[in-house]
């Protein structure tokens, strides 16, 4: 767990914000995991997981071997001024589940029928 206010926590918040922005812009691909409530995206040497753990969103950074090396909870993020962790989880989930594609296809099908 991080002690918010230190330099490391600032970097973690900065990463969470950037991941949120890039996810919102469609620049990051999220994947499903075996856990229904966890989604992941990977970089060359690290992975990021967002998880809905008992109704609290947790942002995790994993190392090259897949071990969690840092985590940020919704409460900690919120206290540090980043209140979009839940939005990040929702968007990551939508991306991983292909919700946009599903909605587009339904809209197209309905448009053809009308």
């Amino acid at each position: 767990m991080i002690g918010l206010g230190d330099k490391m926590a600032d970097k973690l918040i900065q990463i969470a914000e950037l991941v949120y922005q890039k996810t919102a812009n469609g620049e990051i691909n999220w994947e499903k995991t075996p856990d229904d409530n966890t989604f992941q995206t990977s970089f060359p040497r690290y992975s990021v997981l967002v998880q809905d753990a008992n109704d609290t969103i947790v942002f995790k950074i994993c190392n090259e071997e897949g071990q969690v090396i840092e985590r940020l909870s919704e409460g900690q993020a919120s206290n540090a001024g980043f209140a979009n962790l839940r939005d990040l989880y929702v968007t990551a989930r939508r991306t991983a589940m292909g919700v946009d594609e599903a909605l587009d296809e339904i809209l197209q099908t309905l448009a053809r029928r009308s």
């Binding site: 994947e31 995991t33 075996p34 229904d36 992941q40 995206t41 990977s42 992975s47 071997e65 897949g66």
Partner: protein, 166 residues
């Protein structure tokens, strides 16, 4: 031309021949050094290619093993699964380290596969700890996607080896 002049001229000619000989020797040494450097570079390139070729073959083997495990997941005793996935994860970590010229995208895909193998391992452990059955259909779907992604990387790497410089 008296004897002294002939001697001076002969000395000059001898000096010129000597200088020419030195120049020729130095030029030959330089040429040999360049040839030796080129041979060393070629040997290094060949060694790198062999290491890469072996790593690519190992990647092909790891993909087959992951796919075999995915297909036999339902038949494999659940307590054995985490160790099997952990072993495959270690293989992928080692193989990634032996292919230096992977692109960032390829590295990210391999990292994704390593992370998913870890996720599967933890999912099975959690299920066992809670006395539940792991969601093997979901595990199979996820592993299948990793096999596809790794297969694409393998095809790209084989293409690079078959057509170097492309």
């Amino acid at each position: 031309m008296d004897g002294h002049q002939i001697w001076v001229l002969a000395s000059l000619v001898e000096l010129l021949v000597l200088i020419g000989g030195f120049a020729l020797t130095f030029w030959r040494i330089g040429k040999l050094e360049r040839a030796s450097e080129q041979a060393r570079s070629a040997a290094q390139r060949l060694q790198d290619q062999i290491v890469k070729l072996m790593a690519v073959q190992e990647l092909g083997g790891a993909i087959s093993t992951i796919d075999d495990l995915r297909r036999s997941t339902c038949l494999t005793p659940v307590p054995v699964l985490p160790d099997r996935y952990a072993s495959l994860k270690q293989d992928l970590i080692a193989i990634r380290g032996r292919i230096p010229d992977l692109t960032d995208q390829q590295r990210s895909k391999i990292q994704g596969a390593i992370q998913q193998l870890t996720n599967v391992q933890e999912h099975v452990y959690d299920a066992m700890a809670n006395g539940k059955a792991p969601a093997l259909h979901r595990v199979s779907e996820i592993i299948s996607r990793q096999v596809d992604e790794l297969g694409r990387i393998l095809a790209d790497l084989k293409d690079q080896i078959d057509r170097p410089g492309r």
